[in-house]
Symmetry: C3
Amino acid sequence: MDRLLKELDIDKVGKELYALTERLYPICRSITGNGVRETLRIISEQIPIEVHEVPSGTQVFDWVIPKEWNIRDAYIKNSRGEKIVDFKNSNLHVLSYSTPVKGKFTLEELKEHLFTLPDHPEWIPYFTSYYRESWGFCLTHKQYEGLEDGEYEVLIDSTLEDGSLTYAQLLLEGDIEDEVLLSTYICHPSMCNDNLSGVALLTTLAKYLKDIKLKHSYRFLFIPETIGSITWLSRNEVEAFKIRHGLVATCVADSGTSTYKRTRNGNALIDKIVEKVLIDSDSPYEIIDFAPTGADERQFCYPGFNLSVGSLMRTPYVCYEQYHTSADDLSFIDPESFADSLEKYLGAIYIIEHNATYVNSGPKCEPQLGKRGLINAIGGQKDGKVDEMPIFWVLNFSDGTYSLLDIAVRSGVNFKYIKAAADALLSKNLLVKVDEHQTNPRMWSGSLNLST
Amino acid sequence: MDRLLKELDIDKVGKELYALTERLYPICRSITGNGVRETLRIISEQIPIEVHEVPSGTQVFDWVIPKEWNIRDAYIKNSRGEKIVDFKNSNLHVLSYSTPVKGKFTLEELKEHLFTLPDHPEWIPYFTSYYRESWGFCLTHKQYEGLEDGEYEVLIDSTLEDGSLTYAQLLLEGDIEDEVLLSTYICHPSMCNDNLSGVALLTTLAKYLKDIKLKHSYRFLFIPETIGSITWLSRNEVEAFKIRHGLVATCVADSGTSTYKRTRNGNALIDKIVEKVLIDSDSPYEIIDFAPTGADERQFCYPGFNLSVGSLMRTPYVCYEQYHTSADDLSFIDPESFADSLEKYLGAIYIIEHNATYVNSGPKCEPQLGKRGLINAIGGQKDGKVDEMPIFWVLNFSDGTYSLLDIAVRSGVNFKYIKAAADALLSKNLLVKVDEHQTNPRMWSGSLNLST
Amino acid sequence: MDRLLKELDIDKVGKELYALTERLYPICRSITGNGVRETLRIISEQIPIEVHEVPSGTQVFDWVIPKEWNIRDAYIKNSRGEKIVDFKNSNLHVLSYSTPVKGKFTLEELKEHLFTLPDHPEWIPYFTSYYRESWGFCLTHKQYEGLEDGEYEVLIDSTLEDGSLTYAQLLLEGDIEDEVLLSTYICHPSMCNDNLSGVALLTTLAKYLKDIKLKHSYRFLFIPETIGSITWLSRNEVEAFKIRHGLVATCVADSGTSTYKRTRNGNALIDKIVEKVLIDSDSPYEIIDFAPTGADERQFCYPGFNLSVGSLMRTPYVCYEQYHTSADDLSFIDPESFADSLEKYLGAIYIIEHNATYVNSGPKCEPQLGKRGLINAIGGQKDGKVDEMPIFWVLNFSDGTYSLLDIAVRSGVNFKYIKAAADALLSKNLLVKVDEHQTNPRMWSGSLNLST
C-alpha cells in the first residue's frame, strides 16, 4: 500500500475519475432498469463486480422490490407539433418511474403533471415517483412560462413491469474477515456530483486496491439508494456484522470543502480516522454530526444494525443549489477536487490498514536512541528535529493503550510520520506489537531491561 | 394540555399577571405577619391554596421560627414637625423587622439607624434585620443629604411578638406521585420583579393547570424566603423526596433575557428540559451554573436534600441595579415579558408531561413511510420537508435509549414537532412505548418484521 | 506555612534568586565533572543537600553512566597567533564533552568542527556531544564569517576519563511519607533562564521550606538532565512510587507568561492545583499539554513510572530565541519574574498542604450563620459580601466528595479565601474533616441536627 500511495499520479487519477463520470453521464438510470445494468457493465470493465438481480415483489424488511422501470422516449409536443420538451435532450425531463402515457391534453390538464424550479428558471429539477404510480415531466421554469393555451401531445414510452432490481458488489478479501464497507448509489440519471462522482470514485478506488495485499476485507456496493441498501441488508444480515468501518461515497467531485458526516454513534474508529485524515490534509474541512436523512448511511446506521458507517463528501447534498437539478452537470465537478477526494479515501484506508497498538520494550525511562542511530549525535542541532518528535511520541505513548492513531491524534503529528517512527523503532526492537486479543502489557511487570 | 397551550391568549395572560402584581404591590410583607396573610388571601381567590401557620419558637433544623412582626405606621419628623420620612409613602422606608420605637433623637443618634444608597440618590433601599433585634429607616440618599441638625421625632409602631410564620401550598395531584416543585417567596414588601412577579406567575400557572389532567403531581409553594423553605423541608422530609424536578420562580417580569440557573448537580433532567425550552424559544437566553447563593434553591439543593431544583428567571437578582430598591416598581416590569416567562414555564411543563421513550417497531432499516401517507409521494418536492425531518429523527433514535427530549436536543428540532412526529408514528404502529421499568428493547431480538 | 507566606518579602526574594544565579553563572557545567560539583557546593551553603557520585560505566536502565568530562582551557588561534575563539570568554565556545585536541588545522579541516547560528550572528550556540566522542567549537556566525584562509592552532585541554556522575538530593520529611518531587537540572554551562533559574528557585524554595512543619515530604533533586533522572529513577524504583505530585523547575526567570506543562495523564491533582494557582494569580498564563519532549518530566512520566510530574515555567524552552545560546544571559532574566515564579511554586505547595475534604455537620439546609457571627446582621448591606460567598460555597459543597480545591475551582474563588472560610466554619463546628480513608459521609444518614 505504501508503494501504491507513492506511485499515485494524482493528476492522472483526476482525469481518469472525470473521464469515467463523463462516460456514465448520458445514461438514464433509476432504481431499477437497464440504465443501472448498463452502468454496472461499464464499471465491470474496470473491476470484477458481481451483479445481483432481485425479482420485483420480493419482500425486503418492510419494503417490497418494485416493478422494473424502463423508458425509451418521451416528449411534449405543442399544437404546432413542435417538441417543446424532449427526453432525448435530458433524461431529467421525465419524472422517474413515470407510467406510460400517450394522448392529448389541454394546458390545464398537462400542468398537473409538470414540475419546475421557479427560483432557478434555467434548470430542470430531478423528481421521482417510485412508490406511487404517476407520470410527469420536469422542465425549466422558463419553458413552463412559455407554454401557450392549446392542445398538447404527450408521449412517455415507458414500461413498469415485473422484472428485477439490480445491484453489484465486489468483495476484496484481505487477511482478516473484518470488513470495510464502501458504498455508493447508482440510481440517479444525468447528474454528476450526486452521484456519478461517488460511483467513479469507488470504481477507481477498487481498481487500485484489488491487486494489493490488504489486511482488512473491502466490500464495495453499487446499489440503488434506500431500496438498494435495504435489499442488501435484508439479504446479508450476518455479513453486515462483519463490517467494522464504512463510508458512503457521494458528492465527492465539486470544488467545495471536504465534509465528513459522522456515524450514528459519533465516536467510532472510522470517525476518528477520517477526522485525522482531514486534519492531516492541511486544508479546511467540516465535520457534521449524523442525521437520519441523507443517503444509505440512514439504513446502515439504523438502530437494529447501527453500523459504523460515515460519509466522506465535499459539499453535502442539499447544501448546494445545483443539487438534484440539471445544473449538477459536468461543469460542476473538476478533476482536482475529484482526485483530492480519492486521496482522502486512500488516506483513511491507509490508517485502517496500518493502525496498530504497541508497547515499548523498556517502559522505565527512554531508551538511548543516539547509540541506535535514531537521533542526532550533536545535541542542539535542529536539522533532525522533525524526525525525532514522532519517535519520542511513539515511544512514550506505546504503553498498550494508545494505538498509533491515538498517538497521531494526541501529538498532532501526521499519521504517516507516526507510522514511519513506529517502523523505525520496530526495526530496532524498541517496540513490540500488542496481540489484538491481549492488550495488557504484562511484559512490563518483569521490569524488562533492554540494555545488555 | 395541548388545548391549554393552543387556546392561551398571551396578551390577556400578560395583562392578568401584571394586574395581579399591581394588586399585591402596596402590601407590606415580611417573613411573618399580616402582610403575608393578606397576600395569600388574594392568591386564594384564584387557586385553592392550603395555608399553614407555624408557631414562633418552633425548631426547624438549625433554625428557630422567629417572632411575628407587624407594623402599622412609622415616620421621622423634623424639628418643624414635618414628616420627612413616612412609611405610608413607601413600606421600604422601614428596616424590615424593626422593633417599636417612639422618641426623640439628635441627628447624630438618628444617623446610626439610617440606610441609603449613595450611588442611586433617588432610590430607597430594601434592608432587613430578621434575626437581630434592631430598628432603622431606609431613605433616599437625597433625603439623607437634606437632613439638618436638630431634634427628630421618630415613630415605629410595630410589634415583634410570639405569633407564627405563614406559608401556603397547593398540591395538584396527577396520575403519578412524582412531583414537580414550583416555589416562590412571598416575603418582600413593595417590589415587583423581586418577587411579586414570581408570586403572580405561579398563581396564574396554578390557575391554568388546576383543571386539566396531568401525569405528574405539581406542588406550588408560597413561602417566606430561606426560613420558609427550611420550615417546609423540615416538616416534609419524606414528601421532599417525591420531588423529581423543581423550579424557583423569581424575577420573571423584567424585559431582560431569560436566564436559567442550573440545579446543583447541573445535569438533571430539568436542566436539560429548561435549556431546550430556551433554545426552542428562538430568542437569546443565558444559562448559569448553580451557586449556593440566591433564593430557596439554596435550601432545596443543599446536599442533604440535593433536589433537582433550578430557577428560571429573566435578569437574575443582583444583576440589575434596581434589585432590592424602590426602583423595582411597576414600571420596571411589563406584561409582554411576564407572559413570555409564563409561556416558558408552560413549555417546561409540557416537556415534563410529554417526554417518553419509545422503540420503533422494526429496527432493521426504515419502514416505508410513503405507503403509510407519512411523507410526500413525489420525491424531490420541498413542501413536505419540514414535516419529514422529525419523523426520521424519531424513528432512527427511538431505540429505547433516547427519549423524545433526547431526540429533540440531538436533532435541534423543536420538542413540539418531535412530539407530533411521535404521535403520527404511534398512530401507524411504527413506535412502541417503552415501559418505564423496562427500557431494554427486547422485542428487537426476535427480528420483528413489520411488513405483512 | 501561613506565616512564611505572610512574611515573604517578595522584592528581597527576587534579589536573592538573581544573586544566586549570578554567582553560579560563570561555572562551566556539563552532565558530569567538577562544574557540577562546584555548583552543588554553592547550593550546599544554603541547604543540606546530600551529594551522590555514580561511577562511570554503571548501567542505569538502557543507559550507561558516561566517562567524566573536565576542561581547563580551549582556544583557536589564527595564523598570526591571535586567540580568535577563547573558552575563557565563554564556556559555550566548546562543544560540551569535546575530547582533547592539540594541533594545527587548515580552515577547511577546522570548519568541520565549528558550529554557529546564521540567524543570530552575534550569539554563540550551545551544542553538546555527550554520547559520541567528538570535538568542536561553537562561535558566533560573525566570528565564523571573519575566518581567513590559513593554518589554525587548536587547543582543547579537556579530559574524558572514568570518573563519576554527580547529583544531589534533599528530602524534607513531613508528617506523611507521600512525596512532592521538585526537580531541576544542573548540567548547563553559562546560561541563565535554562536553567540556572530552576536551580536558584529550588534552592531558595528548599531554604524557606526546610524549617517549617509540613504535612507532605518534599524531595528536591539537582541532577544532570536526562541521564540524571534516569540514574535517579533506576536507583530509586521504590522511592519513586511515593511521589504523589511533582514539578520540574526550568526557565522560571524570564519576563514571559507563566506556562504550565501538564503531566502525561493530564488530569492529575497537581494539574488542577497549578492551574488554580495560575487562575488565582489574576495574570495571563498558558497551559500546555504534555509532550514527550522537554526536560526530565520525559523520564518521570515515561509509562513504566508515569508519575504525576508537570513543569511550571515561564516561556518554555525552544519557544524563546535565546534558548540554548549565549543570549540566555543575566540580562534575559529579572528579579521580579523570578520572584513571581517562586510565589507560584509556593502557591502550589500551599494547596498541596492545605487541600482537604470536609462534610458540613448538618446537611439538611443551611445553618443559621448570623447567630454565629459569620455573616452580616443587616441583610442587604454589601460590605460583607466578599466574605460570605466562600462560606456558602464551602458549606454547600462540603458533602464529602468536593475537596476545598474542588470548591475553589467550581466557585472561581481564590483558594486562600476558601481555605479561610473552611477554617472559620471549622472553628464553629460547622465542618467535620473527612478521614482520608473514609470519604463516605455516613454521619448524615442519622439526620444529625446541629441545633441544640
